[in-house]
């Protein structure tokens, strides 16, 4: 079972968690990475720290990691430059990158670890529009992988450089995010279902259609969206969801929709949406 929602630290996360951390101060992301990786080591996972700049500099970031030196020597801690880990300084190739992490995860398992845990500052990989687009395609794919395999990740994004809008575009594609990064979260664990939580108001009006398209890039028929943790939606959110399902030519079931928005569906005459109690 993975976590979903907003967190205020990188502690207490499990082997399937995928977190977006946006920061204004690089030292903050270093501190979160140390928390995240330290717990990974405690859980018996191979941990990996990735960032821009030299490997020496990155190793320096982890001075506060308990047992870091020894972990580096025995291979339970890996430190890599972005270039080496993502094999590009340009746009990622989504499926290839997921495969690379899958291979690294399987290698960690083969080496006797419980899984792989990565903290990576990927700001440099989302600077241009093309890079951002590629990364926004990659994040949902990696969600699918982490759902079933013991791969957990903390993705760092520099808000000063990227701005709040780009952060929101990325953050909403992570099951877990730091506070204020995105008003909602959306991810899929299978072809015919999604999880949508948080709040849908005017802040999410443009974000949601894009996020839906990225999470389910190809029309796929019937869709179930678990909205049990969707604490608010306005009518635009409901229209967007039903329009998206219609694009797919399939039915839409909203599982666990609150009674308020369920009544709005009726008033708005959105008849092609089924509301189901939470299982």
């Amino acid at each position: 079972m993975r976590r979903a929602g907003v967190v205020d630290s990188a502690r207490g996360l499990g082997p399937h968690d995928h977190v977006c951390w946006s920061y204004d101060d690089p030292a903050e992301f270093v501190a979160r990475s140390v928390e995240f990786l330290a717990e990974g080591l405690e859980l018996g996972q191979r941990v990996c720290y990735v960032g821009a700049g030299s490997v020496e500099g990155l190793i320096g970031d982890l001075a506060g990691l308990p047992g870091g030196g020894e972990a580096l020597r025995d291979g339970s801690l890996q430190v890599m430059s972005l270039d080496e880990r993502y094999r590009t300084t340009e746009a990622v190739v989504p499926a290839q990158q997921v495969r690379a992490y899958a291979e690294a995860t399987e290698a960690a398992l083969a080496d006797g670890f419980g899984g792989l845990r990565v903290a990576a500052d990927v700001t440099a990989l989302v600077r241009s529009a093309a890079q951002l687009d590629a990364f926004c395609a990659y994040e949902p794919l990696v969600n699918r992988y982490t759902a079933t395999r013991p791969y957990s990740a903390l993705c760092g994004y520099d808000r000063r450089e990227l701005g709040a809008d780009v952060i929101a575009e990325l953050a909403c594609l992570h099951p877990v995010a730091s506070a204020g990064a995105s008003p909602f979260w959306l991810y899929a664990e299978s072809d015919d279902s999604m999880v949508l939580g948080g709040e849908l108001d005017f802040r999410g009006r443009e974000l949601l259609p894009a996020a839906l398209g990225r999470t389910r890039p190809r029309p796929g028929g019937d869709l179930v969206v678990d909205v049990a943790d969707l604490t608010f939606t306005d009518h635009h959110g409901l229209f967007t969801l039903s329009d998206f399902a219609r694009r797919d030519g399939g039915s839409l079931t909203l599982r666990g929709l609150r009674s308020g928005p369920a009544r709005l569906l009726g008033l708005l005459g959105i008849a092609d949406v089924r509301v189901e109690a939470r299982r």
Binding site: F232, D234, H235, R258, S259, R263, L268
Partner: protein
């Protein structure tokens, strides 16, 4: 061909009638329904129980009449407009040259706040005008407050007189004029003290939290709180996106009800029907307000010297006298 006084009229023939006794009510309601049935015009009666009984007795064979109990039909103005429009649309399919409807609009004399029904009476001049409809709104002068009667005169282009005449009403105002010239809506008694919360240019998320927190200390039911949270969120979003800042959110509550107002410095929506009829243009404020009107127990829109205010009440409003 339309029978009766609307002969030759195109669209909605919106008439009121004032009466001071049951006999007087029957003197125009009886012929209104009977003549409609005789002419084969679809005839709808949406009266309070006592008046419906009087109509049934006066008409005798009411098998051709559509009865829509007023308590359901007039639960809220927006619901009433939607239900009537749906009904008229289906009746118009019969190809009848005219539809007749007689209905008892609620007011403080029957236990309902008036302001939104005043808006209703003005707005239906537009909202029903696509139908070849003769609507008769009787008001009982024994129970109807004077301020309501004054608004009724300003919103009905025709008045039925006791002698059976149908008089063009010189005091009628177009809905657009009525909304501008009418005074401010009656506030809730809670508003006489300072609000328990005032937020300037808040995020809708902050307002939603504030409403939930305040509602938790009241007896307002959870489903109604959801509606109130939606209403507050929409009103603030509309103020921030369509109004002129700063946008002020105010909240009052006691243990039984909640009043919230959202004020911006702009003129408010220009459309006199805003909130009362659904709009297909979701980019405008209309649909959120329409849903608010549908779901909340009292909603007012006020244009005033300081700008534009949306008021929403959760629980039962206690308006000042």
């Amino acid at each position: 061909m339309r029978t009766g006084p609307a002969h030759g009229h195109v669209g909605y023939f919106h008439e009121t009638a004032f009466y001071g006794s049951d006999e007087e009510f029957v003197s125009f309601a009886g012929p209104f329904v009977r003549d409609g049935l005789e002419a084969g015009e679809p005839t709808v009666v949406s009266c309070a129980d006592a008046n419906e009984k009087l109509v049934r007795e006066a008409v005798g064979d009411v098998s051709g009449v559509t009865f829509l109990p007023a308590a359901d039909q007039y639960s809220r103005p927006t619901n009433a407009i939607k239900r009537f429009r749906d009904e008229f649309t289906s009746l118009a399919r019969t190809g009848a040259p005219q539809i007749r409807v007689i209905g008892d609009v609620p007011h403080p004399g029957t236990g309902a706040p008036w302001d939104w029904w005043a808006r209703y009476e003005a707005a239906v001049n537009h909202a029903f005008d696509e139908f070849q409809l003769w609507g008769l709104c009787p008001y009982d002068t024994r129970t109807t407050p004077a301020e309501v009667l004054a608004d009724v005169e300003r919103t009905h282009p025709v008045i039925a007189s006791a002698d059976g005449a149908h008089v063009r009403n010189a005091r009628f105002e177009r809905p657009e004029e009525f909304f501008v010239r009418r005074g401010r809506a009656r506030p809730d008694v809670l508003e006489s003290r300072s609000p328990s919360l005032l937020l300037v240019d808040p995020t809708p998320a902050a307002v939603r939290r504030a409403v939930r927190d305040a509602a938790a200390a009241t007896s307002v039911a959870e489903a109604e709180v959801d509606d109130l949270v939606f209403a507050a969120s929409e009103a603030v979003t509309n103020g921030l996106t369509h109004g002129r800042g700063p946008v002020r959110f105010r909240l009052w509550s006691d243990d039984q009800h909640l009043v919230l107002t959202v004020t911006d410095q702009g003129d408010g929506p220009a459309d006199p029907l805003v909130g009362l009829v659904p709009t297909t243009k979701t980019a405008t404020a209309g649909l959120g307000l329409w849903l608010t009107y549908h779901t909340c127990s009292y909603v007012t829109l006020d244009r005033h010297d300081e700008g534009f205010t949306v008021r929403v009440v959760g629980g039962t409003p206690r308006l000042v006298d």
